[in-house]
């Protein structure tokens, strides 16, 4: 009889860390053939249009960057929180908090110069997202309320607050839709490349990756945050103020998601609408896991997601394969990655009995 057994393996060398995500993506694409075939698509044609749609033309390529920007922000935020074992499932709500605050400032800030307005805007979004994440962090440290539940539920609270405001004080005068007035011209993100939507939020996202990487590896706070994540009891024993570390971690995490919301408002929609985010906050969780909680990993997995999202539109238009295949592929990517991560620590042995 032949059986299988899972045993621990020696730690893999450094290069494996680079090879594994790439291998995971290739395996994902191979496996994605199954749903595409079931949906009746022609395999080569589908893949061709998937990548052509995302990377094939200048406009499409830049559009992939546009989609990646909010994903990088939310993914980065979630990864930063997860590293400290603050289970922030609430990036969606924090994103909306950022967008909502920016809308309020953006409608009322007539006359201010752009140079001044943009930093204020981004700061407002960051602070709003940060505060929205600080609430569950405080509940966790002071009252031991489970952070998974509270961050998740606050998403719904924020959606309803936003709904109430969009049907109330923030509603565009004369409109019957739940949407706000347009933000002032000075509040809009500058477009950095002509004939595209390549906006300020994209370099900002790259900048955020670098900053978080720097905080993780070089800054006292990054060390403390990691210590809290690994063993909060020992961190407390060692004199680290764990309450404050969790709070600050949450604020940075929520703040990043908030900036994603500002970007969607100021570069894409220009006004607040109910579906300003098609679930970027939730995708952020998957992206953080896919990126193994490392800033660089988050960057790569955000791009992978965005290629799939953007490319799937073209694929669906050209081949008739339904668009939601994109979501199937995203889910598959996470599963494959988790299996691959398992295989970095364990190996499967075949045994004959």
């Amino acid at each position: 009889m032949i059986g299988f057994k899972i045993v621990k393996r020696k730690p893999l060398p450094g290069w494996a860390r680079l090879v594994i995500p790439v291998a995971a993506i290739i395996v994902t694409l191979v496996l994605s053939a199954i749903p595409i075939l079931i949906a009746g698509g022609n395999l080569w044609k589908s893949y061709y249009f998937l990548f052509y749609g995302a990377l094939g033309t200048r406009y499409n390529l830049l559009e992939t960057f546009v989609k990646a920007s909010p994903l990088i922000f939310t993914g980065l935020g979630v990864a930063f929180a997860f590293r400290a074992k603050f289970w922030n499932i609430g990036a969606e709500g924090q994103l909306l908090a950022g967008a909502l605050t920016a809308t309020w400032v953006g409608i009322n800030a007539a006359g201010a110069p752009k140079i001044l307005l943009l930093p204020v805007f981004i700061a407002c979004g960051f602070i709003a997202g940060g505060i929205w994440a600080a609430i569950p962090a405080t509940l966790k440290t002071k009252l031991k309320v489970d952070d998974v539940v509270s961050t998740l539920l606050l998403n719904y609270v924020m959606i309803h607050i936003m709904g109430a405001l969009l049907f109330g004080p923030l509603q565009q005068p004369g409109s019957s839709w739940p949407r706000s007035s347009e933000i002032v011209e000075a509040a809009k993100y500058p477009m950095l490349l002509v004939r595209s939507r390549f906006h300020l939020g994209i370099p900002l996202a790259f900048f955020a990756v670098a900053i978080i990487w720097f905080i993780n590896d070089k800054v006292v706070f990054g060390y403390q945050s990691r210590a809290v994540g690994v063993n909060i009891k020992a961190a407390h024993f060692g004199g680290i103020n764990t309450t404050s570390v969790i709070l600050r971690t949450a604020i940075i995490s929520g703040g990043l998601a908030g900036v994603a919301g500002v970007g969607e408002l100021c570069a894409i929609q220009y006004r607040l609408i109910m579906d300003i985010s098609p679930g970027y906050g939730y995708s952020g969780i998957v992206i953080a896991m896919l990126g193994n909680l490392h800033p660089l990993g988050v960057l790569f997995s955000s791009f992978f997601f965005s290629v799939i999202i953007v490319g799937a539109q073209t694929m669906s238009r050209m081949t008739g394969v339904p668009y939601y295949i994109a979501e199937v592929i995203q889910g598959m990517a996470l599963m494959v990655m988790l299996v691959f991560l398992l295989l970095t620590e364990y190996k499967i042995m075949v045994i004959r009995k």
């Binding site: 045993v7 070089k218 800054v219 706070f221 063993n231 009891k233 961190a235 024993f237």
Partner: protein, 508 residues
């Protein structure tokens, strides 16, 4: 005396080699275990004892070598395989579920089925039968968290026996036990052997080895260096074989008159986790250049007292002053700022972050000092230099400062804590069971370090269950019993008999 050598061994491990990254933990080891024998495995911290036994238990697979159990070649790729072949192991850190009952813990994974349902009655009968046979009495319905450590260990032994284990491996079983519990354990082990079991016993305490083992195998740096029958050897030779040099605690102590009070504890009362009063109205003073030994069996309030001093437990009432300054209750930072070095008994849970590197553990308390950071940025040059010096100075066996702490052996984990705590030239040291699980060489080293710290001017509290240690180091001895101080004597006036009486709760 059982004649063992004539028999066929129950376990034969042949040329076992196991390498972790760059450490060869076991090199070409041949190890045999005979029926009805207690074999002690001796060796320095990091010698490879736990690794070798983990291989026999199927927890690790060896890179090279073969294992025969009862004459048959065994491919062990998981503990389940080992248990099937009658090998059981009790790790130093127990694996019981605290909120469940004794019975539930014991039957976990072996559920006897009757038409698909759990047959608790049959399981309980089997357990009671085992208890009777080996004299290991314990209430099957008791919840684990209500049991003393010694009782929990009994549950672990029963758990192994329940699985019909014939070969029992015990990794440092006595490290956490009180002296009376140790003699109970020894009685149990003797009866197990009489019933035909074979036992591998890992310990650092040479006296125990002489008392219980039939045969002794000594490992050094991953290799077997000697094998002796207990009758043919002595403490001195064993120590020598283990460490490769002469160690017998010939510690020279300078008699220094104690200075002004450093630690003053007033009317301190502390509750334990169950909400019961664990420390009752204690008053203590420790002076500069003085080592105060707190003797007593674990569970008499020592842990709660230590945790209160460390700043991780809030007292009910009372004050603690260090050099005249009040310690903020429940604040580790306050304890660190007032110059207290803290050596917790619970290394893995409280003392270390096992998934971070050795270096990251070494800087836990000092990373906030101006030396190690500038405007929020860690100064890695200084940090690397600092950790290299400590690793070197304390002889921490590790592949380097970046090694994950989890990969260190038990004794080396303790060295990491000591190195971290003593690096700050403390004015007060509170050490809880500082040499538990350490080999004789390391123990001697740590004793010397503690004495040096005293000569340098530190005031020291030494909480230990090991009376030898208390007598070697202390200038003054108190005994804790049921949360109270039973007696307070200078070393010169202390006798073991009297201390022993205090420990068991008898006054005068």
């Amino acid at each position: 005396m059982v004649t063992v050598t004539a028999n066929q061994p129950v376990v034969e491990m042949q040329s076992i080699t196991k390498q972790f990254l760059d450490v060869v933990a076991n090199r070409n080891i041949n190890f045999n275990l005979f029926p009805k024998e207690i074999c002690a495995l001796l060796g320095e911290n990091g010698a490879g004892k736990t690794t070798l036994m983990n291989i026999l238990f199927g927890y690790y697979t060896c890179d090279k070598g073969e294992i025969f159990i009862k004459g048959k070649k065994a491919e062990l790729s998981s503990p389940r395989d080992a248990i099937c072949r009658g090998v059981g192991m009790i790790h130093q850190h127990f694996t019981l579920v605290p909120s469940q009952s004794v019975l539930e813990n014991i039957i976990i994974g072996t559920e006897m089925r009757k038409s698909g349902f759990l047959d608790l009655k049959a399981a309980k009968d089997k357990l009671l039968h085992l208890q009777e046979r080996f004299g290991l009495h314990i209430d099957p319905e008791a919840r684990i968290w209500t049991l003393a450590i010694g009782e929990q260990q009994r549950v672990e032994i029963l758990k192994a026996l329940y699985r019909d284990v014939e070969i029992l491996i015990m990794d440092e079983p006595t490290a956490v036990l009180a002296p009376s519990e140790i003699s109970d354990l020894f009685r149990t082990l003797k009866s197990l052997v009489q019933e035909g079991k074979s036992i591998v016993f890992i310990t650092h305490k040479l006296k125990e080895v002489i008392a219980i083992a039939d045969r002794i195998v000594v490992l050094r740096r991953g290799e077997v260096v000697a094998e002796r029958r207990t009758g043919d050897t002595n403490l001195r030779e064993l120590a020598n074989l283990m460490v490769g040099r002469d160690v017998l605690e010939r510690i020279s102590r300078k008699k220094i008159p104690p200075g002004e009070p450093v630690l003053e504890i007033h009317n301190l009362a502390v509750s334990n986790d169950k909400g019961l009063e664990a420390v009752k109205d204690i008053k203590l003073v420790v002076r500069k250049n003085e080592i105060l030994g707190i003797a007593g069996v674990s569970g008499n309030g020592q842990r709660e007292l230590a945790e209160t001093l460390f700043g991780i437990r809030e007292p009910q009432k009372g004050t603690i002053k260090i050099n005249g300054i009040t310690l903020h209750s429940g604040s580790p930072v306050s304890a660190i700022k007032l110059g207290m070095a803290r050596i917790p008994e619970d290394r893995i849970e409280t003392g270390l972050m096992m998934d971070l590197s050795v270096e990251e553990n070494l800087i836990l308390e000092t990373h906030v000092s101006p030396d190690f950071h500038k405007r929020g940025l860690l100064n890695f040059n200084k940090i690397h230099q600092f950790s290299n010096e400590l690793i070197e100075g304390y002889g921490i066996m590790t592949s380097g400062r970046d090694a994950v702490t989890r990969s260190l052996s038990g004794g080396n984990l303790q060295k990491v804590i000591l190195a971290r705590e003593l690096s700050g030239k403390p004015t007060l040291i509170v050490a809880s069971q500082p040499t538990r699980g350490l080999d004789v060489g390391a123990m001697e080293y740590i004793h010397q370090r503690i004495l040096q710290e005293k000569e340098r001017g530190a005031a020291i509290i030494l909480i230990s269950e090991d009376l030898d240690e208390i007598f070697i180091l202390s200038d003054r001895i108190v005994v804790m019993y049921e949360g109270q101080i039973m007696g307070d004597v200078q070393l010169e006036e202390a006798s073991r008999e009297q201390i022993g009486l205090w420990i068991s709760g008898v006054k005068k």
